[in-house]
Symmetry: C2
Subunit: 224 residues, 2 copies
DNA sequence: GTCTATACTCTGATAGAC
DNA sequence: GTCTATCAGAGTATAGAC
């Protein structure tokens, strides 16, 4: 499976960076816009590598090139920064699954989904780890969205997969677990990146090799 | 795939609980032994659900039924508690892979490994999350072991898999990535437990369903 | 061995000058 | 809008009584 760095990632990248969030002050001047995104960029770095409680406003402010009170001028609290990041992320995170087309060719659609998810892991590993941190810690700030939008979307797409199975166009499998397996396999390359690289050693491109491997895996798995 | 809660888990459970760690004061009296394991039990709870920095000694001491200074009588620092947990964990964590027998029947050996890993996720989810937290945050306190023991063991077992592939006894695949896929798929059920349960809804047993799904997946994947 | 008291640092957040 | 100064609380760790 060839991962293209092209159109899809660029579009999603723009979404991940620019989509306004609910708890964010609406940017008005150019300076405000610049500072706000500097804060979110820095916060993504810090939250994704230390978790919510492990991250400090000092670290974020430093990385954003602002003073701590100045950061708190843009966001009312640490929690608000985190929420702003998560709410921007979740929506974009679901787009690849939304794009799974019930009228497409089953194999192509699923393979494209796997590929898009792997691209997300490759191009937005910090976002993946931010999400993983949140889930790992019990999803205290995101549970509603998971039980709501996420579950709704997954149920809908699981029904699509199930229909394809009924028609004998792909192998019969538990559709929800098929989706979990795509998440697990693709996100592993982002979330466990340091372990993957350490175990593979020098001279490997985990994402390229992973892409090939996953293409084979799902081809064999889905063949009716 | 039927997950048995029996012998294997009990043995590993004992290891995870009782194996002495390097940075731990050697228990001597019965009281010391009891307090030390109460601390480690409590620390596992807290570290696995909040990460290293997110965990506090207050929480751990409370959960262990001790005062904070008393906790610090048994372990010299927060870091020491964490290290004690991790070093006990890592060794036991690798046992299932060690047990992969080069002289066994390839399919049986790999399936047994998958099953054991899934049992670990089911029976020791906190340990899995402790490990995931550590890797996610860049493995600052465990990198040496990953580049050392873990890599050595994986390389060794990858060679076994590769030999089986050469003999045509299982399908040809990138052996390291095959191992990653087992880790990713089985650990997902522990690490993303709240998401899996929220998406599945009521009335599901994620681990039982996952066991069946993974058995099918690897049967199809490995068939020559 | 265990506790109370406390030292000292870090952290999130606010006040108020400019 | 941005900064310095600062507060109150939480955090790790230690001293010292018992």
């Amino acid at each position: 499976m060839r991962l293209h760095s092209a159109r899809f990632s660029i579009i999603l990248g723009a979404q991940l960076r620019d989509k306004p969030a609910r708890d964010m002050k609406k940017p008005q001047t150019r300076i405000q816009e610049k500072n706000t995104s500097a804060i979110l960029e820095a916060a993504l770095d810090v939250f994704s590598s230390h978790g919510f409680r492990g991250a400090t406003l000092d670290q974020i402010a430093d990385a954003a090139g602002l003073s701590k009170p100045n950061l708190l001028y843009y966001f009312p609290s640490k929690e608000a920064v985190h929420t702003a990041l998560l709410s921007r992320l979740l929506d974009s995170w679901l787009d690849p699954l939304r794009a799974l087309n019930p009228d497409g060719r089953p194999m192509d659609e699923i393979m494209a989904y796997v590929q898009r998810k792997l691209e997300l892991s490759r191009d937005f590993p910090r976002e993946s780890r931010l999400f993983a941190n949140e889930i790992l810690q019990g999803a205290p700030r995101i549970m509603a969205a998971i039980e709501g939008d996420l579950k709704t979307l997954v149920d809908e797409k699981a029904a699509v997969l199930s229909a394809w199975m009924d028609q004998g166009r792909i192998a019969r499998l538990a559709p929800h677990h098929l989706i979990f397996s795509i998440w697990a396999l693709t996100q592993h390359y982002a979330d466990f990146d340091v372990q993957v690289r350490a175990v593979l050693g020098e001279g490997h491109d985990p994402f390229a090799e992973g892409g090939t491997f996953l293409e084979t895996l799902f081809a064999k798995l889905l063949r009716p």
